[in-house]
């Protein structure tokens, strides 16, 4: 140990740590400055950006010894007393969503602004190009940095919260670095660390040898956990019929990165253990790939032919002979594994409290975690307390258990708190991915320009374990004909096991893959009919009164048509401009404009997915919303408060939040399927209405009464009469509430029959997007120049947050289309696995169509997944428009695009 002195946020400090230790670790562990985030430990993500003598560096690549005598500035130093102007600008523009990249963005931007007070977009992009963000799509960040004189948005008056662009409720924590993510939460007092030993092979049998020498060599090692140590059910899973994933593998591994044993001990002791010291003997088995899985020995007894499950929707007569003059188009599409690449790797700790276990970790689904951990430990759900930390990006990836089973077992057995933080490579190797899909589809349209039939089959590589595979298999056929009225439909799917990583939930549950196919077909049919691609879609769009392929009749909010009409002027102008550009022969660059449409069912497919919310009035006159909905950056903490405020008739600023803790909140279900605004929003609305009714009853006031919330009292005015309700004298419950309201909502759906007929969702969102690309036809590189997105959202509870979801979804759709391809064993880092940077996301124009949903709270629907679905189709259709080349394998890497262009040239299409 050496004492190393430096200046930290203006104060002289001394660190007593080895000089080789990474500055990021020193700031967090020695100084408690957890605002500096560790996303990759490799300089790939920039989340740990700090200023060293005023210049941005990655603290994860900086040796402590090198900062001796120098000045280090972290996010905690930005707001000594009040928020810095840049922090205010981040709040105003919605530049922080989950907040995990925010400290890095802020520090990089501070260095820029110190040099260039009014930077242009190019300078901002150059300055922030080293920080990855997975939530925002970067556009709001650019806007914030360009508007560093911003003020905070004003708080809306009572009754005007819905529709207001209020700053996110948890925003100050995110821009000051105070927010506690999974790796930032530490148990009080000493704790043990857990390190998983994982399979380097996709498929193998193994035996664990005598552990005595390991313990002898490392006396501080406390315990080595194996499958035999799991006290309850070894396997867990999302569905009752799919509990096939072991906490620790039992003699056989089915994917690379699967944990086989877990070392538990002090962190330094674990770090000193070489992987080779753990006595594991491997018997390598042939991997089971997507190509040959159905002809291979099954990986699980429940999945003969390695088929986990199938989905099917049939309507009309898909075999009917097409009318005279009909045109036909077919397509085969292949997609890749896509990694969630949230900047926060999974992390948390567990501690045993008597006969209960508490887990403090990042998650999208506290109640499912609670029940799963109860099963794994062999205890009751009431004995499990899940306390979600802030979530540094989820996108579906934190719907599955990660650290929780291991730390739960370890804490349960040792009786000591146990912490685990995934490394980036561990996170990427072991957690779920978007399903790779192989799709064949065909569509027929009549000479009248109306769709006659769609046939679709998608095989989805669901990897080693079931996870959310059934969700994908069920959701895809419902959506696979696209947002169009089609009388004759046969859409089928299969989820297929392989020895790849488990494919699970990822923003859209297979629908983004399917949309690539149906939107390619729409372009091909329009082309064959000589119709404009937008007008052809408009002619066939699902509209109020349309019958979907599952037989559901849509309501007045089915407004795809309005989306298309909103885009039409841009569509025409952009196409004219691209044509003029191409006519001017800027070879080898060609431009093109493409369109993509989508629809998306909100909530679970034909399954109950209720949410319960409670809201209370404290003696102080403050209101507390007890929300079990996890805000993963999308903004539910803010949206639910806005809904509750207006339903109650209270100022938004009067509402405090208690979130996520399963001991303190009701089950709001998972943050998934774009359901929190729609489902939990309804529960919050009903809870708030119940509390209002109780207040009005006590004041003997009518429904139009106005409530003033005063310290310790309410004043209820009804017509000319005002009554005061003193709160001090009322009895308080265990939570300190004197009055409460409870709300519950479960979207009304019906089961699907064997032909997929029924009502799978209570609400559908619709959207259309157009993209303009420039394709370098000599290299195959694609630059997206601009995107316009028209989204039918029912009602935008908070337009800034809605736009943020759309921007972020578009960035992920762009990644899916152009660059994201996870290859097990080869891209387990953020420099070989590419996600869009600030320079890759073009200007985005968002058009919000607000056609109130009959069931939604204040008419609102979900937008999280709808944001993403239409983007890749629009980009791929734009590439085709520019070059004549149809990309059938995504991502459309430069090599694939060039190959498609050359093939099209050979066939005379371009």
């Amino acid at each position: 140990m050496t004492a190393i002195g430096f200046v930290l946020n203006g104060r002289e400090v001394v660190a007593t740590a080895p000089p080789r230790r990474r500055l990021a670790a020193v700031l967090r562990d020695e100084f408690g400055l957890t605002g500096t985030k560790i996303g990759c430990d490799a300089g790939d993500c920039g989340a740990c950006t700090v200023l060293l003598d005023g210049a941005p560096v990655c603290a994860c690549l900086t040796a402590l010894g090198q900062v001796e005598g120098r000045a280090v500035a972290t996010v905690e130093g930005l707001a000594a007393s009040a928020l810095a102007p840049l922090q205010r600008a981040f709040l105003r523009h919605g530049a922080a969503q989950c907040g995990i990249c925010t400290p890095g963005m802020l520090m990089a931007a501070m260095a820029l602004l110190a040099r260039t007070p009014q930077p242009d977009e190019a300078a901002i992009a150059d300055a922030l190009g080293g920080v990855l963000c997975r939530c925002t799509g970067y556009r709001a960040i650019i806007a914030a940095v360009a508007d560093a004189a911003a003020t905070l948005p004003e708080e809306p008056p009572s009754g005007a919260a819905v529709g207001a662009r209020v700053a996110r409720r948890d925003g100050v924590e995110k821009v000051t670095g105070r927010e506690r993510f999974g790796a930032d939460a530490l148990p009080a007092g000493p704790f043990l660390t857990l390190r998983a030993i994982r399979s380097p092979y996709p498929h193998a049998r193994f035996t664990i040898g005598d552990l005595a020498p390991l313990f002898a060599a490392h006396p501080a090692l406390v315990r080595v956990l194996t499958a035999a140590d799991v006290p309850g059910s070894l396997c867990y899973g999302i569905y009752a019929t799919g509990k096939d994933q072991p906490v620790l593998a039992e003699g056989q591994v089915r994917h690379r990165g699967e944990p086989v044993c877990a070392l538990v001990g002090p962190a330094e002791a674990l770090a000193a253990i070489a992987e080779a010291e753990v006595p594991i003997t491997w018997d390598i088995l042939p991997p089971v790939g997507f190509d040959d899985a159905t002809a291979t020995q099954p990986l699980h007894a429940h999945a003969p032919e390695n088929i986990l499950c199938r989905g099917r929707v049939r309507a009309g007569d898909p075999d009917a002979a097409p009318p005279a003059g009909a045109v036909r188009a077919g397509i085969a599409i292949e997609t890749s594994f896509v990694e969630h690449a949230y900047i926060e790797p999974e992390a948390g700790y567990a501690r045993r409290v008597g006969d209960r276990i508490e887990i403090v970790a990042c998650t999208q689904t506290p109640y499912m975690d609670r029940d799963a951990i109860a099963g794994i430990l062999g205890i009751t759900p009431e004995q499990v307390r899940i306390v979600p930390t802030a979530v540094g990006g989820g996108f579906g990836g934190k719907l599955d258990l990660s650290v929780q089973p291991l730390i739960a077992v370890a804490a349960w057995l040792t009786g000591r708190p146990v912490r685990m933080v995934y490394s980036r490579s561990e996170s990427m190797a072991s957690t779920t991915k978007r399903h790779p899909a192989r799709i064949r589809a065909e569509a027929v349209a009549g000479a009248d320009g109306r769709l006659f039939s769609v046939r679709f089959h998608g095989d989805f590589n669901t990897g080693a374990y079931a996870s959310w595979g059934p969700t994908v298999a069920n959701r895809v056929p419902v959506h696979a004909a696209g947002p169009y009225a089609v009388p004759n439909v046969l859409c089928t799917s299969a989820a297929i096991h392989t020895t790849d990583p488990p494919a699970g939930a990822f923003r859209g549950f297979g629908v983004p893959q399917a949309a690539i196919a149906h939107e390619a077909l729409m372009d091909a049919l329009a082309d064959r009919l000589g119709l404009d691609a937008l007008e052809f879609r408009l002619r066939n769009a699902l509209r109020p009164g349309s019958r979907t392929p599952t037989g559901q009749v849509l309501g007045a909010d089915a407004a795809l048509g309005a989306c298309l009409e909103a885009l039409r002027p841009r569509w025409r102008a952009w196409r004219d401009e691209a044509a003029a550009f191409n006519a001017a022969r800027h070879r080898p660059v060609l431009r093109g404009v493409g369109i993509g449409c989508m629809w998306y069912g909100i909530g679970n497919t034909s399954l109950s997915n209720p949410s319960a919310m409670a809201i209370g009035l404290a003696r102080t006159g403050r209101i507390v919303l007890f929300s079990g909905a996890v805000d993963i950056g999308q903004g539910s903490n803010t949206v639910l408060a806005q809904i509750a405020a207006d339903a109650l008739g209270a100022p938004l600023g009067q509402i405090d939040l208690v979130t996520g803790d399963t001991d303190r909140t009701r089950d709001a279900g998972k943050t998934s399927a774009s359901r929190q605004t729609f489902v939990s929003g309804n529960a919050a609305l009903r809870a708030a209405l119940a509390l209002r009714a109780e207040i009005l009853r006590r004041a003997n006031a009518g429904p139009a009464a106005r409530i003033a919330f005063l310290p310790g009292a309410l004043q209820v005015s009804d017509g000319g009469r005002t009554s005061t309700l003193a709160l001090e004298s009322l009895p308080a419950d265990a939570e300190g509430m004197v009055l409460r309201g409870e709300g519950y909502f479960d979207p009304p759906t019906t089961p699907l029959d064997q032909d997929g007929q029924g009502i799978p969702y209570a609400s559908f969102a619709f959207a259309a997007q157009i993209a303009e690309v420039a394709v370098d036809t000599a290299l195959g590189t694609v630059t997206v120049r601009r995107i316009a997105a028209a989204h039918e959202v029912g009602r935008a509870i908070n337009p800034t947050l809605v736009e943020g979801q759309i921007h972020g979804g578009i960035a992920q759709g762009l990644g899916l289309a152009l660059m994201e391809e996870y290859v097990p064993g080869r891209t387990e880092n953020l420099h070989d696995y590419l996600i869009p940077t600030i320079g890759d996301v073009p200007p985005i124009e968002v058009m919000l169509i607000e056609e109130a949903d009959a069931l939604g709270p204040f008419g609102a629907k979900g937008v999280g997944e709808p944001a993403l679905v239409a983007t890749a189709p629009a980009i791929l259709n734009a590439i085709a428009a520019a070059t004549g080349a149809r990309i059938t394998r995504v991502p459309a890497t430069p090599e694939r695009v060039l190959a498609a262009i050359l093939a099209a040239r050979d066939e005379g299409r371009a």
Binding site: P18, D44, P894
Partner: protein, 280 residues
């Protein structure tokens, strides 16, 4: 506990290297990522406190880039148009965070096949100045980088500087990098070229190097020779690609790399053939 040395004189640094082999740490941007999440193992010689080895020096017949000069220093230095390619590379190596920490020499000593600096330095005809207690020697960069992550540095030597000779007449450099996204991207392939012009705007001498198309970056002597005495023209490229030996990897196939490299070479020659380039 392994040794950590942070000498404040070059003599002390060289003495330490003479005593025992040590891992040399400068900016840390390649070293730390190569060790996962753990701390650096082994004996470390942190050279970041050596005095007088940061500022890029201009001499009558050469420039000297000392071993602590970073990519940001290259971007900020007053350097002529022959450095345009190196400057362009400097702006594309990692983000600003990496450019502020990573040294130019570190890029060379790390000897990644995909190092963006090396082709540019080959095109600039750089030599490596290696110091040890036994004295100083100078190696041409092509003789220094031996292969994938292999260099000719002896364990007792420190690469203290790069020397770049001053061209006889006007010269200009270009860098063409192909990656699959805008920032933070490892090159699929890359081309660097520096041309020196005569008074008539013809190429007096050209050096052209390609990276990420083999275990180390290579020059294309055939193409360089073909350009001499001529205006740079894109259609000279095709017959001169034999030195390239790309592989298939996650970024692209060998076949695509070759094709794209030929295109980048054409673009580089086009850029060097513009009137602005010749007026450099």
């Amino acid at each position: 506990m392994d040794a950590w040395l942070r000498p404040t004189s070059l003599a002390d640094a060289l003495a330490a290297l003479a005593a025992a082999p040590r891992v040399i740490l400068a900016g840390g941007t390649d070293l730390y990522p190569s060790h996962g999440t753990s701390s650096l193992p082994g004996s470390i010689l942190d050279i970041s406190a050596l005095p007088g080895l940061r500022r890029i020096e201009t001499h009558a017949d050469h420039w000297r880039i000392p071993c602590l000069a970073t990519w940001s220093d290259v971007i900020g230095a007053e350097l002529p148009a022959s450095f345009d390619g190196l400057r362009a590379a400097a702006r594309q190596i990692g983000g600003v965070q990496v450019q502020n920490a990573a040294t130019v020499i570190g890029n060379v000593c790390n000897a990644s096949p995909a190092a963006d600096g090396i082709p540019n330095l080959l095109a600039l005809d750089a030599t490596v100045e290696l110091a040890s207690l036994a004295g100083t020697r100078h190696l041409a960069l092509a003789d220094f980088v031996l292969g994938n992550r292999r260099t000719a540095r002896r364990p007792d030597e420190l690469a203290v500087a790069l020397r770049i000779p001053r061209p006889a007449g006007p010269a200009r450099g270009v860098f063409e990098k192909l990656g699959a996204r805008r920032y933070l991207v490892i090159s699929i392939t890359m081309v660097a070229a520096v041309a020196e012009y005569d008074a008539a705007g013809r190429v007096r001498r050209a050096r052209i190097a390609v990276g990420a198309c083999g275990p180390r970056a290579v020059r294309l002597p055939g193409l360089e020779a073909a350009l001499e005495g001529r205006q740079p023209e894109a259609d000279l490229v095709t017959p001169h690609l034999a030195p390239l030996a790309p592989i298939d990897d996650v970024r692209a196939s060998a076949e695509y790399r070759l094709r794209a490299t030929a295109e980048l070479l054409r673009r580089a020659l086009d850029a060097l053939g513009t009137p602005r380039a010749r007026a450099a």
